[in-house]
Amino acid sequence: MTTESVGSEFSRALKKRLESSKRSFYFLTRSPLATIGLAIVIFYVILAIIGPRLAGGNPSVMTAYPIYHGQPIIFNPIPPFEYAKFPLGTTIGGYSIYEGVLKGARVDLELASIIVFSGALIGTVLGSIAGYKGGALGEAIMRGTDIFLSLPYIVLAVAFLTVFGRYESVMIESLILIWWPTYTRIVRGQVLSVREQKYVEASVAAGSSSLRTVIKHIIPNSIYPIFVQISLDFGNVILTLASLFYLGFTFAGPGFAEWGNLLSRATSAGTGGAALESYPWAVTIPGLVILIFVLALNLFGDGLRDVLDPRMRR
């Protein structure tokens, strides 16, 4: 065999690889809903990146406009489409909803990414240890998981924020503390089942070290459910964040841009009825923004699950 043909082998390999990834993509496009979900998620991510730039000013603080064209707009919010400066109208306090939504996307996505990815990382590491090593350490990890799974997450977050003070770091830490156990469970289950597979044994029989076995065989084969879980959890974290901000359990200062916080500005608790009657846009728009994003994440996650589920492939 000549070197040329060896080279061509590798180009062929590349082609095959591309084909197989194309195949996955193909599976994804089979479900139009998942594709729509993915598109919306990408749109939101772009929004989070360039949004604050479009709105100008501090990327996580909304600007207050107490007076506009000589009119006080603190207590009489402007409806959408009335002024070009406030395309989505304003809310109580004179904040532009447009600006709030754009800047809130950055804040929400940032916070949620930190929480979900740290949770997934911690969970994956602990889960792999519990699954692969087992023994007393694994047992201890799983008991810990049980404990954290028995904590109601909003309540725990509130307790933490009350005890340690209302800071961004406390909020992030408390939510990470809540979100890692799910991943530990999933990864452990996966590792346990992958570990029993014959190809792992074959690899050990071929003399591969346990580190190599874990990296080459166990992790690649048990990591995929994590992606699905991340996509589904992202939405949950956004919802929890929004709830906490809406209820005001947080560190949000004046003008802090977050979708739940924006909603709370539209309707300070107890006046929801009045808000809906007299300025419905301030309630509906931020709510819809959250709803669409979380729905898109769920649709995408569901599609992803179908694609990554080996049963679908066969």
Binding site: M1, T3, E9, E201, S203, A205, A206, G207, R212
Partner: protein, 391 residues
Amino acid sequence: MSEILLKGIGIRKYFPIRGGVSGRTLGYVHAVDDVNITIYKGETIGVVGESGCGKTTLGRVVLDLIDPTTGALFYKPNESEMSQLEQLYSELTSGGARELKKEEKKILNTTKDNIYKSRRRKKDFRSRVQIVFQDPVSSLDPRMLIKDVIFEPIKINGIPVEGENDNGKQKRVKLRGDAATKYILDIVTEMGLNEDHLFRFPHEFSGGQRQRIAIARAIAVKPEFIVLDEPTSALDVSVQAQILSLLKTLQQKYNVTYMFITHNLAVIRAVSTRVIVMYLGKIVEEALTDELFEYPIHPYTQALISAIPIPDPNFRRSRIVLSGDVPSPANPPSGCRFHTRCRFAKEICSTEEPKLKEIRTGHVVACHFAEDILKTESEHTGIKKISEIAI
């Protein structure tokens, strides 16, 4: 006899059963119980028995994939080492069948380490032995290209070249780049696959092809010894024939020793030179293949052989149908483990455990009544006799 390749003495493997309120150990599954095994170079040793008899566990222990509860394993032992260890081992277990204490294990292991220089020796051992599994679906990593699957053992161990290192280890070279690709292509072509197959994922193949790939992976490092754990059980007969003949060709070409584990006696008869029959973790009979099939002595072997349906409607023979199921290996019967289903069972069978003894040349049986059975019975059960009886 030719050179001894592998020798295991007093191998036991007990798996704990957990349960109850606190999840403590309630008992043990006696998967393999006090088995001595010798494998000679170049032969195909068949291990046969029903599910739960411990044949798979024995295969793993022999390959050092799981640690035996007790027992010592020698690979290509030289005389002095072997006698030294064997003596030590018999001293330690002189009290009969029991689990070694922690200190005793330590003594045994240190001695072994001294002889073997444990870790390095282990790596050397790994590169000389391979395994092929029954289940073609789970034996290949679903996220690896076939090329990588086959290349993995080469990457770890390299390929043996002529000559030996000074410390008795094989000389091996690691292949890279084009040389590796060429080597893999050669192997794959030999297995009856082509280069197109190299760049696919396992799920794109049929069972027979997967088994070919698994064999390619095993043979790629030119091992001296391969354990074949039911390699054809999940395959169709026509594919089984292909795989069996492939295995035969490979054995002749690479001079590799096989341990062929299966429940299919017909396959054993076709491929192996020597057969071990296992029942509930014990060896009940051991002989050269033709000898065993012509003069089966142990009642269990007789029943096994007579239970095989022969693909010829003219063979209408009286068969021995065993009553009942195989007892649980967690709670094996006392004495001879087969006595609950045996048609010759007498009182002694339930109290005293029969020892393996040589009844004919090279034919070892664990049965109290082996001689009697040989005289009276085996004429009616041996396979040769059956074909004579046939219409």
